[in-house]
Amino acid sequence: MICLASPRILVIGGGPAGLSASIDLFEAGADVVLVEKEDVLGGTPKKLHYSLIAPDLKPVEEVLDPLIRQVESSAVTKKLGTVVSAIENGNGHVNVTFTSNGGKEEAVFDAVILATGFTHWDPHKKYEYGYGVYPDVIDFKDFEKMLSDDNLARPSNGKMPARIGWLLCVGSRDRQVGKFYCCRVGCAVSIKQAMEVKKKHPEIDTYIYYMDIRTYGFWEDQLYWKAMEDLNVKFIRGRIGAISKGDEGSLVAMAEDTILQRPSEVPFDMLVLTTGMEASQGTVEMAKLLGLEMEEHGFVRPLEADSLPVHTTVENVFVAGTATGPKAIPDAITEGSAAAIKAFNYVRRSRGKKATGRSMKKDARAYAE
């Protein structure tokens, strides 16, 4: 017996993945509630004012605003400025308590999509780079905001920098800080930032200190080669060990130029730390409430990383975006759609098969095959 009532699905998180999941669920005919703890939709890219988005270098508004508008104009129930404070999951019903300024509220769902994303790693923890001590040492997200505000200036004196450097892999691929994984987007975004600088101000010198450049797929020629060949962005092979004060308010990036086999202590006006990604606090908290397993890097463990990437270890909970690991915006959007169809079909099938009592995990696997 197929039940005719629409699947009731909760999407937690209003970033790229959550937005795309909500739209697809709504279009498929589900009853969708989208809960977001901030007062605006768009997630971290909007909240932190990212500038242009790779690979087409479109402003973040052009990429995300159409999704936001679709959700806003649809009948998706939007709960902004609201958090999920309690969850009870049993017998195929998820009882959820929402908390906001307006008080508490409860609702029941058939399935949940977790799209609670990531945060940028805190560079204060890498004390030898002096973030928070030297005003001209800024991080990745600070620089994005600077670019999107069109306000390129040294924080120390408000003047235009003549030379900017980037340090890749800060808080990524570093046993010293317990982060063993690659952030996947840092190289691309740093190169993109240097390209933005060079396009507007060709007179500014830009240097990227790298160990490996990981601009996989089309980012190779669209970003790395373009930056190097057309925009004269320079690449120095060596990882900066420390940053110290130089003459006349400059900063000195202390590295070994591994190609020269020599110490290099070159002055800069600004240094940008390309910080890595870690699971957001929301991701960690929600995973706990939902009883999800985490994987060894602190992200949500997908049921099968290879074949069931948007399923979780709990059968009626699905996951999309950076909650399962570092990812670019287009990938998060794709996963939102994937999680939507998986959740929708799960509810339909479970209603149809409730009587048979088949294991849903087996079912999900069979479905994937």
Binding site: R175, M211, G241, A242, T258, Q261, P263
Partner: protein, 233 residues
């Protein structure tokens, strides 16, 4: 033909002949200088394997050549000994380039054991230990003799093994007696010694302190050292 950038070529690679003949014709003056090729023609993985099997060398295969260690290395930067490049030593050991590594036999032992590299290495290579292991490997192969650093190590371990507590005065005395001080910056060492005296970090006086029950502990310590491949004097 003159070699314009002669300083870029290692001296031992230049072969100069007084006279040269080519197909019966005397070409000396024109073709009497040869440069040996510098092509790397073989890898020797056994070198890294052997180093990795020692307690000090166990983290060598973690290195991905980022240069963070060298960028902050006291010997490399503060003391300005450019040839002392821990990243490069590790690379040479990993590819097994004996010829190149041997060029650094007067340099590689000069690590100060300040451990700045260990603190910073993103892959958690125990750089200081690994350099020590490469140094040890080179001595074991007979590529270099005992060095002031290795004699210091022996002196140090022997000293501690005696009573279980380091006797700095004895250590320095024996070491100075061996006339090793001149290899180091003697003035600097003396100043450091004086400062240690002033701050009470150097034990003085006739009584040799001793760890309680040291005899038993010593046996265990020696067993472990031997198991770790340390040759006790």
């Amino acid at each position: 033909m003159p070699i314009h950038e002669k300083h870029l070529i290692e001296k031992q690679k230049i072969i100069q002949k007084d006279s040269a003949e080519l197909e019966g014709r005397d070409v000396s003056g024109q073709w009497n200088i040869f440069i040996q090729q510098r092509i790397l023609s073989q890898y020797h993985p056994s070198m890294a394997d052997e180093i990795a099997s020692t307690p000090d060398g166990r983290t060598i295969n973690r290195c991905w050549q980022c240069g963070t260690c060298t960028s902050g290395c006291c010997m490399h930067t503060d003391f300005g000994l450019r040839e002392f490049n821990p990243r490069y030593f590790i690379y040479l050991a990993k590819i097994g380039d004996e010829e190149e590594l041997k060029k650094y036999k007067d340099v590689i032992w000069r690590c100060l054991a300040c451990n700045k590299c260990v603190e910073r290495c993103p892959k958690d290579v125990r750089v200081e230990e690994v350099i020590h292991a490469i140094d040890g490997y080179m001595r074991k192969k007979g590529w270099m003799d005992d060095t002031p650093a290795s004699r210091w190590d022996d002196e140090y371990v022997g000293n501690v093994l005696k009573t279980g507590i380091l006797d700095e005065i004895m250590l320095l005395r024996n070491y100075i007696r061996d006339e090793e001080m001149k290899e180091f910056n003697a003035g600097y060492m003396m100043r450091m010694g004086m400062n240690m005296l002033k701050t009470g970090r150097l034990r003085t006086g006739p009584i040799r302190h001793r760890t309680k029950g040291w005899k038993k502990v010593r046996k265990v310590a020696e067993e472990i050292l031997e198991k770790d491949g340390y040759e006790l004097q």
